[in-house]
């Protein structure tokens, strides 16, 4: 089962599609959670997910906006999609019938 941050990262990468790379994923997570996302957490989680075969990463092209530095591109693998789907289903199932406003 994925962890909460792992799911956030996979979902952000899947949402960004071909434009998924470190800074974009970080911005996506920060916008969704309204919390800061540390580079350390992002890169170590990327490594962990890649080791588990849930995503692939490779060095992309450099842009002037990044001071001529290359991007670490990310693509969610079919195995990663399955894991993210399983996590999302579990969250949806366990949340069914729960009215948070009244608690």
């Amino acid at each position: 089962m994925l962890g909460e941050f792992e799911y956030l990262l996979l979902a952000a990468a899947a949402r960004l599609g071909d434009q998924a790379y470190g800074a974009a994923i970080r911005a996506e997570i920060e916008a969704a959670t309204a919390k800061s996302c540390s580079i350390g957490a992002l890169y170590t989680t990327l490594d962990r997910l890649e080791a588990k075969g849930f995503l692939q990463t490779w060095m992309g092209e450099a842009t002037a906006q990044r001071g001529g530095r290359a991007k670490r591109m990310v693509k969610v693998s079919p195995k990663g999609i399955e894991e993210a789907k399983a996590f999302y289903s579990a969250v949806a199932r366990v949340s069914e019938g729960v009215a948070w406003e009244t608690i």
Binding site: A23, R26, I39, G40, T44, M59, R69
Partner: protein
């Protein structure tokens, strides 16, 4: 601040350094926040490296730190059995003793029971911890410690047991040192690294 970021990022792998510095530049964070983010990543990477290197130095650590500690523990059994000899005797013969004489000399049944219990728990916990550390760190060091313990038992305890029939020493060694040590080793090996 930029200079610090450059120095700190040099601790990262070249490809990761490239991607991270690019991400920081693109995010447009303040230099202080960039530095803090980078520091977090560098610390995580250093910790990962340290953890990966544990199997290389763990047998030496086990040999030079944990084995002597285990040796000290086994000697501790001998000390404890001597230190608490009077408490054991007092508990066994309490019915035949005059409590007022004991109280005059600062002894009591509950005091002896507590002292004996605490001593045994501390010793057992120490032996369990030593066994767990050995089991976790190195299998070879575990056998070395076992050999050391056998030598101590063989040369120190066996003659006393044979000559004086002093079985209490052997029983206390088994209950409060060997058994916790073995349980600790089993626990450590399950979570072990070598």
């Amino acid at each position: 601040m930029r200079c610090l970021i450059e120095i700190l990022s040099s601790l990262l792998h070249s490809t990761e350094r490239e991607a991270v510095l690019g991400d920081l530049a693109e995010a447009g964070d303040s230099p202080a926040r960039s530095l803090f983010s980078l520091l977090g990543l560098v610390l995580r990477r250093q910790m990962q490296q340290l953890y990966r290197s544990v199997p290389k130095w763990s047998p030496w650590m086990a040999l030079f730190f944990i084995v002597p500690l285990g040796h000290y523990m086994s000697l501790g059994v001998l000390r404890v059995s001597g230190l608490f000899g009077f408490d054991t005797w007092l508990i066994r013969n309490y019915k035949d003793l005059d409590p007022s004489i004991l109280a005059e000399n600062g002894f009591s049944l509950h005091g002896s029971v507590i002292a004996l219990l605490l001593g045994s728990i501390i010793l057992a916990a120490g032996c369990w911890l030593s066994g767990a550390a050995i089991g976790w760190l190195s299998r070879r060091a575990m056998w070395f410690q076992w050999l050391l313990l056998s030598v101590i038992v063989g040369f120190n305890l066996a003659p006393r047991v044979l000559r004086y029939g002093d079985l209490n020493l052997l029983i206390s060694l088994a209950c409060f040192a060997l058994l916790p040590w073995f349980l600790g080793v089993r626990f450590g090996r399950r979570r072990g690294i070598s």
